[in-house]
């Protein structure tokens, strides 16, 4: 009997837990279990210890804006979302700190000269061809672990 009471309580708390979770996660699983896919992910390998840039294409499968809020990887001490700009012939870049929206069903490209992941503080050595996992974080959605291929410094993406 004791056992039954305990299991009843246990079941109730479990039910409560699942109810709470389903309430909290209503938006998460409503549309699609996979909120986005990552394609053509690569890193330009530069000599030395300076920051490198990561590029990829992200397709939003949901019916609402998806907010990319940040990224991390054990291979780097810090990763930021950056955007390069050429203003009056002068190149500069700045950090995107408030998250980056990918429109419903839309595609956002991180490509040279535009958005890129600024990969700072290398925690390991790298070689061309190697795959590095970077975790992309989204607001109100689960993380996506994406595999980035290291490309040589002179690598050129087809310009679109």
């Amino acid at each position: 009997m004791k056992i039954n009471t305990r299991s009843y309580k246990h079941n109730m708390s479990r039910l409560f837990f699942w109810l709470l979770l389903s309430l909290l996660s209503q938006n998460i699983y409503a549309a699609s279990p996979v909120p986005a896919t990552i394609k053509h992910a690569w890193i330009r390998l530069t000599p030395g210890n300076g920051p490198m840039a990561g590029y990829f294409e992200i397709v939003n499968h949901t019916d609402h804006n998806l907010i990319l809020s940040g990224a991390n990887s054990p291979a780097f001490g810090s990763i930021m979302i950056h955007q390069s700009e050429i203003h009056h012939g002068e190149a500069s870049m700045h950090a995107i700190t408030q998250g980056l929206a990918i429109s419903a069903g839309g595609t956002l490209r991180f490509s040279p000269g535009g958005y890129h992941l600024m990969l700072m503080e290398r925690k390991q050595s790298f070689t061309v061809g190697e795959q590095i996992t970077i975790t992309l974080m989204f607001r109100h959605h689960p993380d996506i672990h994406a595999s980035f291929e290291l490309k040589p410094i002179w690598f050129e993406e087809e310009r679109k």
Binding site: R44, A53, S84, A91, S92
Partner: protein, 204 residues
């Protein structure tokens, strides 16, 4: 009559602009012959040696300002130059130099510039110098550079000109590429400039 005068004047202006040197040639980049000054500088190369524009005279020199902690725009431009040069026949490629001038001498020591430029090819040189010399050279080509605020880890962003300045073997400014040209367009312009340079009588 006043109208006609204005019309003739307009024709003259158009003629003056289109009919100057290299006028018979079409370029994808901007023709800056006679507009920008000759190549002149005193800098330190990737081996720590003092170099001047004379060191590189006799070659077509492509000047580009940047810094090695620049992970995005600088390698994009240099990678494009590298692939454009790589696709030229050896007999043509040997006439070109790329002078990468770092405007971040505090971090870009010669050894760092050497490793960085070597990765793009043997035609790439990694120059830098004192802030005074770098400012002088930037001013000469009507551009500037600047440093962003340092973060907690002493990292900072450098803003710099995105353009490439192309000089003929006599050190005269010829072309300005904005950095938005396709590889095909750069190839055509480089080959045309080389053709003119070989037959140097047409250049004077």
């Amino acid at each position: 009559v006043k109208r006609l005068g204005q019309y003739l004047f307009l024709c003259l202006v158009i003629f003056a602009f289109t009919g100057c040197s290299q006028g018979d040639y079409k370029w994808h980049t901007t023709n800056i012959s006679g507009i920008m000054p000759d190549l002149a500088f005193s800098l330190i190369d990737q081996n720590g040696k003092t170099v001047t524009a004379d060191t590189y005279r006799g070659q077509i020199n492509i000047l580009f300002f940047g810094y090695t902690n620049c992970p995005d725009v600088c390698p994009l431009t240099l990678a494009q130059l590298s692939s454009v040069l790589r696709q030229l026949p050896e007999a043509e490629r040997k006439h070109f130099n790329v002078l990468f001038v770092s405007v971040d001498p505090a971090r870009d020591k010669p050894a760092i510039r050497k490793a960085y430029t070597a990765a793009f090819g043997p035609e790439f040189y990694g120059l830098s110098g004192t802030l005074k010399e770098l400012r002088k050279l930037n001013r000469r080509y009507r551009v500037t550079f600047g440093y962003g605020k340092k973060d907690a880890k002493d990292n900072y962003v450098v803003s710099h000109s995105a353009a490439m300045y192309i000089f003929d073997p006599k050190g005269r400014a010829r072309l300005l590429a904005k950095g938005t040209e396709s590889s095909h367009e750069l190839t055509e312009d480089f080959q045309q400039l080389l053709k003119i340079s070989v037959n140097s009588t047409t250049m004077d």
